[in-house]
Symmetry: C2
Subunit: 286 residues, 2 copies
């Protein structure tokens, strides 16, 4: 059984690998230089601008030369993404809330510095050190609460999905402001005709009521921020609550998930003390 193994993993993990002995014509560039140049262009002008031709030109090299360093364009994008994820450098300690706040702050800062991240799909992300560092950090944050092992992953995934979703939304807004020259509020203002000419009051009673109540007076971006903070608060409260009364009240709902957990349920974080270092078993299906 011949299995295809993608060429991207050694590139993503290139920092974990010792330098190869020099043989053959010496390269003019390095992968890191290519990646950082692409990131710099994308920061300034968006992901599309960081084309193979453009990156090569920036490095005073022919387009095709880049293909010695990177298999193809999508792989370059993967490398760019994992680079900035790795540079996010999550290392805050403290309580659950403090860690989540640190994660959120760093993530928003990352998307502000590199708004093109919002132009990259989040499905099947680059499996490099940056991505795994995020996973580990958020899981560790949730683990401080002492939740049952099987609940860590859903909780951590919910948190990172919520935070990332908001950061991406903000980044998209920034991108659009740059490409269109219009802020979100200016964009809305330009569409005032919607309310004057097209909006049907009778078909939208709730919106109209909120409107008349004056609850639409914040800008669109601010409303999104409000919703983000409101939702994050609910998620964190809910997760903390399910840690407090240890699955007694909600056990009925969770039974399906916890069914096959055979590890100590009273002290769920105990596994984190004595970690089995072996990763040799091949019965893992991620």
């Amino acid at each position: 059984m011949e299995e295809f193994s993608p060429r991207i993993l050694p590139l993503l993990w290139r920092r974990s690998v010792p330098a190869r002995k020099a043989v053959g014509r010496p390269p003019r560039l390095t992968i890191d230089l290519v990646v950082s140049t692409a990131i710099r262009i994308a920061d300034a002008e968006g992901l599309e601008a960081a084309s193979m031709a453009r990156v090569a030109a920036e490095l005073s090299v022919a387009t095709m030369s880049l293909y010695t360093y990177v298999p193809s364009r999508p792989e370059l994008a993967d490398l760019m993404v994992d680079e900035v994820f790795w540079a996010r450098d999550l290392r805050g300690e403290g309580t659950f809330r403090e860690r989540v706040r640190h994660y959120a702050e760093r993530t928003f800062a990352m998307y502000r510095a590199h708004p093109w991240l919002a132009e990259v799909s989040r499905a099947r992300p680059p499996l490099g050190p940056g991505m795994l560092a995020e996973q580990e950090y958020v899981l560790a944050a949730v683990a401080t609460l002492g939740l049952p092992l099987r609940q860590l992953n859903p909780a951590a995934t919910a948190i990172s999905a919520w935070v990332t979703s908001a950061a991406r939304h903000e980044a998209e807004s920034a991108l659009l402001r740059r490409t269109t020259g219009l802020s979100t509020d200016e964009w809305w203002l330009q569409r005032g005709e919607l309310w004057e000419s097209w909006f049907d009051v009778e078909a939208h009673p709730t919106m109209t009521a909120i409107w008349n109540g004056g609850a639409f007076d914040r800008g669109a971006d601010e409303q999104a921020q409000d919703a983000y903070e409101y939702g994050l608060g609910l998620l964190l409260e809910g997760i903390e609550r399910s840690a407090e009364h240890d699955g007694t009240e909600r056990s009925a709902e969770l039974e399906g998930i916890e069914r096959s957990a055979e590890h100590e349920e009273t002290e769920p974080a105990a596994e984190l003390e004595g970690i089995e270092r072996s990763v040799e078993g091949d019965d893992r299906v991620p």
Copy 2:
């Protein structure tokens, strides 16, 4: 003060406008035909496939002819999006939970039928009837709880963001499966090398513990679904809870938001009964 008014609004709301008197050369096509053709192509082959040239070819018309019906490609995308949003046809009644469930089901169904929706940015969406119908439906669902007026929008936005985010993720997964020929699990399997050669156990103790506890045994798509349902449960519970004890416990946090609400706070849904039909005032900044 000359204000630019976008040409897209009359197209989005074309169903609300009476037919124009026929004068000049009669058109061979209609906007609806163009839009539905583009949707059909995108359904089958993705958004990129629905290029101007391709849609025109499908209609046996020259590429440039489409520009009589649609100002440009982005506007065509807007029309496609609002078309399927409108066709989602949200009309379930019932309790808060029932309405949210209906909204979620219809939304997932929509993204399954039109996975290319995940390829379109959610920022600055088309302001057509479909988009507004969604807003109204979710707001009305939340309004059944009797929340204070100023809390309706954050709650509704949180719900729709969470549901949409999950539906988009599933759709992206489907798109990737089609373009790459690999399911998400096959994609992971192909990257088994990650665990064998690159994963650093000591740097990722929490992941390793979860691993050894066997809590990673579900497929990636299933894990995402778990996180979605878990998070949705927390959001709905939290929203319901804040409706039960009417802002007594959380009033400190909410004070900043509720500050300028001068409408009856004890019966917050009262505005929905007697709606002021006037939308003439121009002091609204959406």
